[in-house]
Amino acid sequence: MIWLTWRQFRTQATVAFGAVVVILAALAATGPHLAHLQQTRGDRFLDGIGGLETNLYLGTVLALLVLPALIGMFWGAPLVTRELDAGTHRLAWTMTTRTRWLVAKLGLIGLAAMAASGLLGLAVTWWAGPIDKAIAARNGAPGPGFLLFPRLAPEVFDSRGIVPIGYAAFFFVLGVTIGILVRRTLPAMAILGVLFVAIQITMSMAVRPHLTAPERITTTISSHNMLNINMFDHVTVTIDEPGAWLAAQQTVDAAGRPAAVPSWFVDCVGRSEQERQACFAKLAHLGYRQQVTYHPAGSFWSIQRNETALYLGLTLLLAGFGAWWIRRLSR
């Protein structure tokens, strides 16, 4: 059964791993130079990053962001539906049990997807290490150009570390399971695409902040740490925690209740430096503080580990469900 799976899958596998090798080669060729620049340029490192490196940085972030969706849509969803369309399941399922058939397919192709994603994820983590470090050192202030986010930020987190392995496994099996349920290739691919976006957003917004216990800090709002005030008079500050992911923040008044900053403070921000300082002092004197919930940079790997474990656990549950459902399939 493994042989049949491999025989059907080898062309796709060759193309996919060929692409991975090309990307790895590009990273290997430019990585050492990047590390060298970081050591020699110091603080001016991020400003001096060239077009090629910026493109690689953005390209790898985007590639790893959408890779699980591609795996689910093009390897997962058609896995069963293609056989149902061609009728070949009648050939296979009268020669081997459906469970063995499905386990071989999920096992081999799932491992290939995990290996490809894992290789890419770790290589990118190594390659972008100097950039990530330099961004973290800016202490919450966004870097130049597109080099904005620390690696704990949702925009970058998905393309670092080991989570790509969990995503690849989960969305591959999700694609297969949707295929088993809806039995048609294109609807299955479309459903997977929608679910992918919904799940990844839910994960980064609602689940990830709880994967490790966050730290809390209450700080005065000063001209040094305030980043901006939005249209709802909500203040955003940075904290002195290089590379931290600020999951949530809230202004509180002297009594500790959540509050917006007073309107006079909002007006005051555009004024001269001297007046601004007085405003900040007055705000602090009235007892306004900023409560920040954050994950320090040191939590990166434990969040990575927990999220990967979560996805792999869901993958196993989903695979069990798929194996149970395919036995009930009347085709």
């Binding site: 042989w3 025989r7 059907q8 009728g87 009648r90 050939l91 009268t94 020669m95 049990t97 009347s330």
Partner: protein, 291 residues
């Protein structure tokens, strides 16, 4: 008579539609059985149930003494050539044989190779580039080389042109003569069945209308042409299967175990096709009398 396939009150429902219901039949072992019936009679459903591709909604089915598709041993006992003879388009002929060898515990590599050679298939040819007839031959080869106890063929020639159809059926007849195995072969064309089968089962709306040895059926049935007469006035031992009256004459298909000897009657043998059609178009099942 030992049965290689035994169904009792077998039924299969898709949502609210019954594709097969209350089907009770025995397929004798060691025979090449033709399963004929109009479209929608439930042939494909019955054979899919026998191959383990479907699970019954009601009743029971036993194939080679086991539950269809229960485990690998059971799967090895049954060779299955599905409708439209599916093969993997991207896999070569050799790949299909390798697949069979890896999945079948009793795989007969010599037989498979021999058949491929005799059929003139190139082993590096992709199945997708084969003609319909060749693809059917390849599917049959994979099923035969499994060395099954029962070979199930679900309308294997339905999509083939007349020439490919004849070649396939001749090859099937030779192959089944060489191997000791039971065969169930479904078709809605009696002429297909006539070439290869020695036992006939007529299935209409899930019910067995007629079942029996082909030669015996042909021997006990006669077309009788006589002056117009009332079928009720027939001598005992004669059963009218169908009757067609004109003003002066009556043409009947009758079944008799002893022979028809009224000198006023003209009798002639019946073709299997006419016999089958007569039973298919009947509204009342008569199979009980034939058991």
């Amino acid at each position: 008579m030992t049965a290689v396939l035994q169904a009792r009150h077998l039924g299969k429902r898709y949502r609210r539609r019954w594709a097969l219901s209350e089907c009770t039949l025995d397929v004798p072992a060691g025979r090449v059985v033709g399963l004929v019936g109009p479209n929608g009679a439930g042939k494909t459903t019955l054979l899919s149930l026998a191959g383990g591709l479907l699970t019954p909604t009601a009743g029971t089915i036993e194939v080679c003494g086991g539950r269809p598709g229960a485990d690998r041993a059971q799967l090895a006992r049954v060779g299955f050539v599905a409708q439209n003879t599916p093969t993997y388009a991207r896999l070569t002929v050799a790949d299909h044989l390798k697949l069979g060898a890896r999945l079948s515990p009793r795989w007969d590599a010599g037989l498979a190779r021999q058949r491929i050679q005799r059929l003139g298939l190139r082993s590096d040819q992709q199945a997708g580039s084969l003609s319909g007839g060749q693809r059917a031959q390849l599917a049959l080869t994979v099923a035969l080389a499994k060395r099954p106890e029962l070979l199930i063929l679900d309308e294997p020639v339905a999509a083939l042109d007349p020439l490919a159809r004849r070649e396939f059926l001749e090859d099937l007849r030779d192959a089944t003569a060489e191997q000791e195995l039971s065969v169930v072969h479904s078709s809605h064309l009696v002429s297909d069945i006539e070439r290869v089968c020695d036992h006939l089962i007529v299935l209409v709306a899930s019910r067995v209308r007629l079942a029996g040895d082909v030669r015996e059926l042909l021997a006990t049935h006669r077309v009788v042409t006589a002056p117009r007469l009332d079928p009720a006035a027939l001598p005992a031992g004669l059963h009218v299967v169908s009757a067609d009256h004109t003003d002066r004459r009556t043409t009947m298909l009758v079944r008799s175990d002893s022979g028809v000897d009224d000198p006023a009657w003209m009798t002639s043998p019946v073709s299997l096709e006419d016999l089958t059609l007569a039973y298919m178009s009947q509204s009342v099942p008569v199979s009980e009398a034939l058991r």
